[in-house]
Amino acid sequence: MKKVLVVCGNGLGSSFMMEIMVKNVLAEMGISAEIAHTDLTTGKSEKADIYIGAADIVANLEDGKRTVIGLRNILDKSELKTKLQKYF
């Protein structure tokens, strides 16, 4: 099972909102995954298969090895679905 980590600045606002969206979208796609949310600092040291967050935040996680999905409109379900489909 893949682990998806949703990341935001403080780890208690938008990351939670995105986590709900990710859960809903993956459920619609019929995929089960481990989903969690955290702040940027913790996200840098936590291992996951896919990192998701607002584009300007997750840009900090790009290291050439991680799989990172940056969202422009974090409340747009169709953007999220299109981007997730590439990895599942």
Binding site: N10, S14, I57, L75
Partner: protein, 145 residues
């Protein structure tokens, strides 16, 4: 008592820039006794530190800081701006509505965020919110009345 009341919602608020806009919603939380003044400064500092990622979707900014920055209870305030303002977000500017929330732990504010993400993930309901004419209408459209 609801986390967002009519007293904590403003329609037609005027701000010169994003810092002022955050101060307006922040002060609504201070007046309601939800946060200390330090929390308002921390919300501004968070944008300076992490960038305008609090602009979640077109027209919407959700300002917040951490519980330890001076939050006293779970609270939410809203300011619908007279003049939309740029926060420097590449896709979702200009901001029409600024919300501020205070969290006291990792969990107790989550129902508030759930309501917000639900109403703003539907562009039609977002548009209805942005067109609110009174504080009462704004609170109602946001789903708190």
């Amino acid at each position: 008592m609801s986390v967002l009341t009519v007293e904590k919602a403003r329609v037609g608020a005027f701000a010169n820039d994003w810092r002022e806009a955050i101060r307006i919603v922040g002060n609504l939380l201070v007046e309601a006794g939800d946060v200390k003044q330090t929390y308002v400064d921390a919300m501004i500092n968070a944008v300076e530190k992490f960038g305008p990622y609090i602009v979640l979707s077109p027209g919407l900014a959700l300002a917040h800081a951490r519980p330890q920055d001076g939050a006293l209870k779970v609270g939410l305030s809203a300011a619908l701006l007279k003049n939309p303002i740029d926060f420097g977000h590449p896709d979702n500017d200009p901001v029409k509505l600024v919300l501020a929330f205070s969290a006291i732990d990792q969990i107790s504010h989550l129902h508030v965020l759930q309501i917000i993400s639900q109403v703003f993930s539907d562009p039609t309901s977002a548009e209805r919110i942005y067109n609110s004419k009174t504080s009462k209408e704004l609170v109602t459209q946001l789903g708190f009345l």
